[in-house]
């Protein structure tokens, strides 16, 4: 058996740690199930600095040090890799997660300490790597889903790892290896609803993988069937994700039985009172299941006695929960059912209330469906969390005003994100040269710069630069139409766009390209009588 150290890198240092890393908790459970010796160091939770990371690296004779995470963990991962190589030189370093998957060749080059990368889903790949190391082998190219170093230099990408379909065979996450009492439960509060605010013992679960929609700013990094292997410009095998006109999906979800058993396990073992569904889009799964999946999960909640019941003192028994919805795919009925089972808030990526912007982002939502779902959700007694983004490629003065009007009319309190081309998203591929140009050709600088999109990094707007977007956001927050009108006149003069003409510099060709696919998504979703309407666009097949 191999002696494995898994390190959860630090992320979002400006906030307290709020989420047990679900992927690492699952990989730890899988490795232990296979008989390996596993320890977890949750650097993000403890935030003890480099000295403790060094101490952890010398605390035992590790065979494997594994780390990974989302793209925004890059700086931390790079630091951990350096420390691990210096203090545990004998350990094979394994990197995974979205960070590695989005740019496998670049990551192996930028972080030379990594011996082998786990590309895409690691549920099968990671334990196979552990088994090989345990046997003394280092021929990682024989394991599907890896990128590793050739003995003579250079990189080898092995065959692509197919996605796992029997998700219910996964063990429950090894939550017990993380500082729940010391850190996570203290930070349980989710300020999105009254029930979320009062959560004191929250754990997150993931009931499904992927999303059938093709939001161009979004990324799935292989887990949604969105990844392909193709030869790149250098003739090397590399990953490819959504590209204009090319979208692939493989939708997978756990059975309601598994979800129920998982929540019961969390309740029995950790006495939780709130669950956050991490799923990208619960409504995709519900649609794929023929509208049975959410209903069955809600029934489980009732059957297990977790549906909350109000107490006289204003508190309640049971387990409230939250998740993600979709403006067009939700129904009035399912929202009511979800509320009755304890759903307190649902995140909606409304993104914009401007029809001409919504048409280009591949979401399959319209201003009308945004408004409809907004009121349905409120009527059901669930708080909608109305996420907004500005700085889309065709964002213009009209869309800015439409958003402000909507916020004002609907009582939306929001500080919008900036449209950010995260690696793995279609817009990262489309705008790669433009992004690189904003960082003097140094893509690694862009990766370092990436945060949670509340601050600005690479700009993909054709009409506004970073300074303009920052200024416009401030004026939007104050609903200051006068300043925006004034600036529009300056902008039109600078770009020689006459009054009355659309305030855009985006070429008609590019708008047309965005719209072609958007119309396909829209018409497929609209035809709700046809089974799996979204699958028609994406070619996705649902499994659980």
């Amino acid at each position: 058996m191999a002696k494995i150290l898994l390190i959860n890198p630090t992320v979002r240092e400006e906030d307290v740690p709020r989420h047990v890393p679900y992927g690492i908790a699952l990989l730890a459970a899988i490795a232990m199930e296979k008989g390996h010796l596993v320890q977890v160091y949750d650097e993000n939770a403890w935030r003890q600095g480099d000295e403790t990371t060094k101490a952890v690296c010398v605390a035992d004779d590790w065979d494997i040090i594994g780390y990974g995470g989302i793209t925004t963990t890059y700086a931390s991962v790079k630091r951990i890799a350096r420390i691990a190589r210096e203090y545990a030189p004998q350990a094979v370093q394994v990197m995974g997660g979205g960070l590695l998957t989005s740019l496998p060749r670049e990551m192996m080059s930028w972080i030379p300490q990594v011996d082998v990368g786990c590309v895409g889903e690691g549920f099968i790949t990671f334990p196979e790597i552990c088994d090989m190391i345990d046997r003394g082998g280092r021929e990682f190219w024989d394991i599907k889903g890896t990128v590793s170093r050739k003995p003579g230099g250079g990189l080898i990408m092995s065959q692509m790892r197919p996605l796992m379909h029997d998700l219910d065979s996964l063990p429950f996450p090894a939550w017990e290896l993380f500082p729940l009492e010391e850190v996570y439960f203290k930070n349980s509060q989710a300020l999105f609803s009254e029930e979320g605010m009062l959560a004191s013992r929250r754990l997150d679960i993931n009931a499904s993988y992927g999303c059938s929609l093709i939001c161009r700013f979004c990324y799935h990094l292989g887990i949604a069937g969105d990844m392909r292997y193709e030869k790149d410009a250098n003739g090397d095998l590399n990953v490819a994700f959504d590209q204009p006109g090319t979208y692939t999906r493989d939708i997978r979800y756990h059975s309601p039985d598994y979800v129920g058993a998982l929540v019961k396990h969390a309740y029995d073992k950790f006495n939780i009172n709130f669950v956050g569904f991490l799923d990208e889009n619960l409504m995709t799964m519900d649609k794929f299941s023929g509208r049975t999946w959410m209903n069955d999960i809600c029934n489980k909640w009732h059957d297990l006695g977790f549906a909350p019941k109000a107490k006289d003192d204003g508190t309640w028994t049971g387990i409230h929960w939250s998740g993600t919805s979709h403006a067009t795919l939700c129904t009035k009925g399912v929202l009511k059912t979800m509320r009755e089972a304890g759903c307190s808030h649902l995140v909606y990526g409304y993104e914009s209330f401007a029809p001409h912007v919504l048409k280009t982002i591949g979401k399959g939502a319209t201003r009308e469906s945004n408004l409809r779902s907004f009121f349905w959700t409120l009527e059901a007694g669930i708080r909608p969390v109305p996420n907004q983004i500005i700085g889309f490629p065709n964002e213009d003065f009209d869309s800015i005003r439409m958003n402000m009007n909507a916020w004002d009319d609907l009582g939306i309190q929001v500080r919008p994100h900036f449209a950010t081309p995260y690696p793995g998203s279609e817009w990262f591929t489309t705008y790669r040269e433009r992004i690189s140009g904003q960082y003097d050709g140094n893509m690694e600088r862009f990766i370092f710069d990436l945060g949670d999109a509340s601050s600005i990094s690479a700009v993909i707007s054709h009409n506004f630069n970073a300074v303009e977007l920052l200024g416009l956001r401030e004026a939007m927050l104050q609903l200051n139409y006068r300043r925006i009108d004034e600036y529009e006149q300056i902008w039109r003069k600078n770009h020689q766009i006459p009054d009355g003409a659309p305030s855009t510099l985006l070429s008609e060709n590019m708008t047309g390209a965005f719209l072609r696919d958007a119309d396909k998504v829209k018409s497929a979703i609209k035809d709700s009588e046809r089974q799996d309407a979204v699958a028609e666009v994406t070619g996705a097949g649902g499994t659980h």
Binding site: K3, V56, D61
Partner: protein, 56 residues
Amino acid sequence: MSNDVLRGNFKTRDKVEIKQAEETLEDRFEMEAKKRLGGSIAFVSKKKVMWDTDKK
């Protein structure tokens, strides 16, 4: 609750424990002030400021 930062399914050769960072009054003040930064709430972050009065 445990002071061990390493959690797993075996006992490691060396134990690694949490080092409790001592929060000073200065740290606490600066953290609280930062939360309300804006308008008339402004302060000097003492760990960042560098000055040498002798050089003047």
